[in-house]
Amino acid sequence: MTALCEIRQLRVTYRGQPAPALDGIDLDIRAGERLAIIGESGSGKSTFARALADLLPGGASVAGELRWAAGHAPRAGRDIGFVFQDPAASLNPVLTIGEQVAEGARRHLGLSRKEGRLRALEMLERVRLPDPEKTLDAFPHQLSGGQRQRVAIAAALAAKPGLLIADEPTSALDMVVQAEIVALLGDLVRDGGMTLVFITHDIALASGFADRVAIFRDGTLVEAGPTGRVLAAPRAAYTAALIASHRDLATPPLIGEAGR
């Protein structure tokens, strides 16, 4: 597999903070893979996601290298799509769903208003929203959390980016909805031949669908590798502790399922 992006010695420090949020990250993102970044709060996983997408707040200092296969940094919307954790906050409350899903496509694919609307409809169907026609003209407050997250995914993918970064997209949702969204993401990425970087604190969730996992802790990369290998034979004590802490009746048998 070719590397979509080679990250070398990435170091991010927020303005006004003495300690870096990320320090010395070396990681490869392979084209077409589903990579899960796993860590607890403060591990720097969200910072990593935003550094990749160039969405860090102004004043954050970035050191190190991000070598993209395309030769240039990915353009927001066109090459890279981003899905946030809180679907309620991701959508502009005063604009229609249709407009917000279409706008990325209209900008990057040069679509007219009518073409944009058709594309938005297509995307809403692909994220399996009930009654997509009516949803086009609805407003965010009229939808449930799960529906809003589907809309956010549709909007992020409307311009057909090659890479999708999802920053804890299911953490704010109910369990059943979580599973649906994860499954949806998996299908969309596979159908579109996209690369997926999935940020989560839930190792069990990641294990269900990720090809590779990367464990973050306190701003450093603890270990990375194929999901099966890491879960069956973790090289770091921290990874082992993470896995152990998730063992309960509800957790699917990690070691057995991994390796697919």
């Binding site: 991701s90 706008e103 449930s144």
Partner: protein, 329 residues
């Protein structure tokens, strides 16, 4: 449309109660005035004896008890009879209706101008919070908002009307010029430039500050970051996402300021000798005409209520969340 109607109905009932309170309170206030309308009238005609005073009071019902007079007052108001102006010797209602259009023209233009300019400049400042441009506009608007309207009017008058002689100093149109149609409209417009400009400058400063502050707040919200992640153009983000949301508190402010603007018209019309509603208030005060004053206060209350209602409807149109029934988790 349904949402608007439901809103209107709820507000109409509340407004009537408030209006009633305004009327009663005004009545009580003017009760405190030493002497009543008959005294003022007799004063204006140069005196009269007790017998005339008594018969006049009986005729106007002024010799009855306060509750009875209050009832009389309320029932005339219900018939839209605002009483008789002693100072002008005309029905109050006619006076008000005659003067109101000038003030509405003055205020309407000033509001439109200040809102447009204030939001545009506020968007410019708020597009890059903390930038040099932002700080310059902030400082200028602070100073502008601190300027007393009447003083600004005088200063502008000195500069443009007296020194430069570009514009007329007073009145709403050139008296007895015999102009009609477009020529008359142009004449009125020339006369209104300074008063409207003065009012507009002060309120533009306020709207600028509100828009700028609102934009700074909206920039921090997640959906703006989401818009950036979609790679939208900066112009689209600033206008369609940030400004479109920042507009909401600005519209609210418009409603809240309508009362203050009406009050501000009093001094402005006084300085520029515009024969309007605000000036009428001043004339009522100097003429000790309590009936006229009551009528003016009640009319102002009605105007403010109407403006607030209109603003609420506009707000509901701009914000789809207002009045909607909750659906979904």
């Amino acid at each position: 449309m349904n949402r608007a109607l439901r809103l209107l109905r709820r507000r109409a009932i509340g407004s009537i109660i408030v209006l009633l309170i305004v009327v009663v309170l005004t009545f009580l206030l003017l009760e405190a005035a030493a002497g009543d309308a008959v005294d003022a009238y007799l004063l204006s005609i140069g005196g009269g004896d007790a017998a005339i005073a008594r018969s006049l009071r009986a005729a106007y019902g002024l010799d009855r008890s306060m509750p009875a007079r209050l009832w009389l007052h309320l029932s005339s108001l219900a018939r839209l009879d605002l009483g008789w102006s002693v100072a002008f010797d005309r029905p109050v209602r006619d006076l008000i209706l005659e003067r109101l259009p000038n003030t509405l023209l003055l205020m309407g233009s000033a509001t439109a101008l200040s809102f447009a300019a204030g939001s545009a400049l506020g968007i410019l400042a708020g597009a890059k919070p903390g930038s040099g441009r932002d700080r310059l506009l902030s400082t200028l608007s602070l100073i502008l908002y601190a300027i007393p309207g009447f003083w600004l009017g005088l200063v502008l008058s000195i500069v443009f009307a007296v020194q430069l002689r570009w514009l007329p100093t007073s009145g709403i149109e050139t008296i007895a010029s015999g102009r009609t149609g477009l020529s008359r409209a142009a004449d009125i417009a020339a006369h209104l430039v300074l008063p409207v400009g003065t009012l507009a400058l002060v309120y533009m400063a306020l709207f600028l500050r509100v828009m700028r502050a609102a934009m700074a707040e909206v920039w921090r919200l997640d959906f703006v970051l989401f818009a950036r992640s979609k790679g939208l153009s900066r112009a689209r983000i600033v206008l369609r996402h940030v400004a479109r949301n920042a507009l909401l508190p600005l519209v609210t402010m418009l409603g809240l300021q309508s009362a203050a603007m009406l009050g501000g018209s009093v001094v402005i019309e006084s300085i520029f000798a515009i024969p309007g509603f605000g000036r009428l208030a001043q004339e009522a005060v100097s003429g000790r005409d309590t009936a006229l004053l009551t009528g003016i206060i009640v009319t102002s209350a009605v105007l403010v209520i109407l403006v607030n209602l209109a603003v609420d409807i506009v707000y509901a149109a701009l914000d789809p969340r207002v009045g909607a029934s909750e659906r979904g988790a």
